[in-house]
Assembly symmetry: C2
Homo-oligomer: 255 residues x 2
């Protein structure tokens, strides 16, 4: 008898986030599901890990094919702790999200959702992250459900190549307006920060970071183009950051 796949779920918006609840419902039919997610929101923590404080786990549910735990750490901590302490055997798959807000283009670099996915891939586990382009807590995750189900089922059927994971971004539009799934590359883009300067009651200055995301490339093969054109954007990403094309020219600097 074939064993059910063991699937780890996590996110960065916390164990209570509606996006995680939506993902749990989508993934449950595919296997034994274990959720290990942060006990508080961790957006913008990127790939931070906790080595100077201890971590705690809190059991929320433990049934035959479903377990749920909150953790005091970051999304990357959650995955490491899940792999080593919570799971009784090696996870077969990891899914992260559904994030409240996009992780397309350069947003991936700040993303706790995608840090968890990279941790999965680093451990050799086929992993994908899902993000909806709607930051609101009451965002509507229903329209994306059939597409996420399709992507989850393809990841389970095909598994991902070594060192590759998926960054999936979903436009916030009704299901009947979504044109389909488009596999693409990470769009060029950056945040133009601004800082709001305030003065505290003691007369000392402080600064609030704000900013706007600016697309700097508009290619039809990018995630930003796909989302603007009502597609779900799937970008295969890797944690080998080498800029291969630059190796030779920079080698010449030192000859």
């Amino acid at each position: 008898m074939k064993r059910k796949p063991l699937i780890l779920l996590t996110n960065d918006d916390s164990i209570k986030a509606p996006g995680l609840r939506a993902l749990i419902e989508i993934v449950k039919p595919f296997g034994k599901v274990v959720v290990v997610a942060p006990d508080r929101p961790q957006s913008g923590t990127a790939h931070a890990v906790t080595v100077n404080h201890p971590l705690r786990l809190h059991e929320i549910a433990k049934e035959k094919d479903y377990e749920e735990y909150s953790c005091t750490g970051t999304p990357a901590d959650c995955v490491k702790l899940a792999f080593k302490v919570v799971l009784k055997r090696r996870a077969d798959f990891l899914f992260s999200g559904i994030n409240h807000g996009t992780n397309s283009s350069i947003n991936i670099i700040y993303s706790g959702t995608m840090a968890a996915v990279f941790e999965g891939a680093l451990a050799g586990v086929s992993s994908a992250g899902f993000s909806l382009a709607d930051y609101r807590l009451d965002a509507d995750f229903r329209s994306s459900a059939p597409y996420i189900k399709k992507i989850v089922s393809e990841v389970i059927k095909n598994r991902l190549p070594d060192g590759v994971c998926l960054n999936v971004n979903i436009p916030a539009i009704p299901e009947n307006r979504i044109k389909g799934i488009k596999v693409c590359r990470q769009a060029e883009g950056t945040w133009q920060e601004d800082f709001v300067e305030r003065t505290d009651p003691q007369g000392r200055k402080y600064y609030w970071m704000t900013g706007v995301f600016v697309k700097t490339g508009h290619g039809k093969d990018t995630d930003e183009w796909a989302m603007d054109n009502r597609y779900i954007a799937v970008v295969p990403v890797q944690f080998d950051f080498t800029a291969n094309k630059a190796v030779k020219p920079i080698t010449n600097w030192f000859i």
Copy 2:
């Protein structure tokens, strides 16, 4: 009259770290230097940014060609705040480090030192990070100084291609044993975590993260090989994380 280059320095070990002091001394002769660094150690914060708390800046020194500030944020925060609030004109170059401990191989993904470098590159500034393979506070940075000086001078002379920055890792050996500079790719490697389980006085479990770095690739073109063989490893890195080779096969999943 040609204006002196404006050079931003930062790190993740804090404004007080000896590695930053060593880098300041190396870079000062090259231009006007402005240091904006975290006011406390931020190792392992990766690319975290602070949006839910305000940031504060503290002026430490302000001379004609040298300024120094500490900041309450992460390394990425320091760079964003420096670009928008501290610097009166666009920075020409950004250097980060010298980190106490290596950021070779997959360590780059957890690195605040390199997050600062990516922030520089994202803003179109030629940027490089330096790390010494010695975690100790009293590590000896002198033997690497001539090599860092050489790399800094080449970055200033040539500038880096768009979207590319440098991850420089230095073996902790005496200067006369260093064989030279090798431009290479990021080695395959991963952390094998372990968690030490303890029980608090209230009887609740908690976990300390520990781990060992494991090389999983040993190619002669990698940073790990270079350092093992007494070279200073220079890896050109990029923030486009697309796994280009995987785009076509994964596209086929959805046809």
